[in-house]
Symmetry: C2
Subunit: 233 residues, 2 copies
DNA sequence: TAAAAAAAATGCACTTTTTCACTTTTTAAA
DNA sequence: TTTAAAAAGTGAAAAAGTGCATTTTTTTTA
């Protein structure tokens, strides 16, 4: 049986190094960062980063699917986005020293690599290209979140739900058929509407042969029409 | 009469240098950046950065108020946010080489300082603290935009309009009384609802003595109730 | 400064969405 | 494996929001 360390190294060479920091970080710098990282498994529902708490690390998600969850003054949950591995979580907190403004919660069995924020910052200060890379990821994340924002803020429920289905198919599950990792209630928290509205709208899409639903299992039958619904709003 | 250059220098020492890059950029570096900047006046309605075009500069807004405007596939305009000087515009484009995803348009007589993006990048690469500062601004902007996003995506029109009024009072005009720089139609594009709904809601707030409206002139009479309306959504 | 154009306001019919009370189905636990 | 609890689903009434026609007011410009 291999030791834990060897598994870690392989994973990291495969993921963080190759995909995220590629070519901007030397092996020794990477090893420096790597020494302080620990891997962590998360069960469905487990909190990875908690809203309101100061965090000392980024989490490089190796495996799994997570939701960004904001809990408002009235304890109402709102899902900001759903995203899958591999991805770097906690970028928004990287320099603003105050607390995290939302929680990140696993909605599928996940595994993440905790990266010490202080060491990462130290490294970034000494490695311009690496820092540039992080800056790029940060602004890139901002840019992509704007479209999500536009959908939710300026479309009706049909269009919002269509957008969510498109995002799940194209980016999260990357498959026309998938088993939904969230409840109808959570879907409603994502779409910004009531759960009944989600149920009715999904049912309508099913009746119109745009999707086929059976419990948590969803199959996209007609992506083009979904895109059209998204466009008319 | 003073020369234009002297005026420029004074402005910049006052604004960009002191407020944004403070302590992270040397006088000579600043002068290097400054040599390539030009100042520009914008009339109400003039476009500062255009959606869909590649931009070669950031704009440091010295004076005025601007809207971030997104035009969708159906030519419908959506206002993402409204912000006032002094502020740095175009951060979202700083590293992602592709085109700007929204326009920035003056809604009041404004003045901006065009900063060459290549020179700024060169400078950032040679000055870690300066780059850190820009990274900080970028993530800070992202963080603050999330609350706007939450309001629009997950509240009803009452709450959204309350949020917009609160933002205008606290951050944009920084006064309980102000002359609105946007039309009811634009207000609707910001709130994500119909212009009739804006008119009715503002009228209701007026009837309830929460605000006093008279054309474009708005006075906030009861900020606490507005905050309460924002909270219940 | 008068005429034309644009913006604001109004009321109403219509559509969308929420809320609620309830039933059915699925999941978890004793 | 039965029971309890949670989630999903239903339909209808109430509330919220839109779109349109029309009038009034404000702004622009000739």
């Amino acid at each position: 049986m291999e030791t834990k360390n060897i598994i870690l190294t392989e994973d990291c060479l495969e993921c963080l190094f190759k995909t995220t920091c590629n070519q901007t970080i030397s092996q020794e710098d990477f090893d420096f960062l790597f020494q302080s990282t620990t891997q962590q498994n998360y069960k469905k529902g487990e909190v990875i980063l908690k809203q309101g708490l100061k965090t000392n690390n980024l989490v490089y998600l190796l495996k799994g699917i997570v939701k960004f969850n904001y809990e408002d003054e009235n304890k109402k949950n709102l899902i900001l986005t759903i995203t899958k591995a591999p991805t770097l979580l906690g970028l928004a907190n990287i320099l603003n020293e105050d607390v995290s403004i939302f929680s990140i919660v696993a909605i599928e069995e996940s595994r993440g690599c905790l990266i010490d924020l202080d060491k990462l910052k130290m490294l970034a200060l000494n490695n311009r290209l690496f820092m540039l890379n992080i800056l790029k990821m940060s602004t890139g994340m901002f840019r992509s979140s704007i479209f999500n924002f536009i959908s939710l803020a300026h479309k009706q429920v049909n269009g919002r739900i269509a957008d969510i289905l498109i995002n799940l198919t194209k980016n999260v599950y990357q498959n026309n058929s998938f088993i939904l990792s969230i409840s109808r209630q959570e879907f409603a928290e994502y779409a910004g509407c009531s759960k009944e509205n989600v149920i009715h709208t999904l049912r309508n899409f099913d009746n119109d042969n745009i999707i086929k639903i059976s419990g948590k299992s969803i199959k996209i039958l007609n992506l083009d029409r979904l895109i059209k619904i998204s466009q008319v709003g």
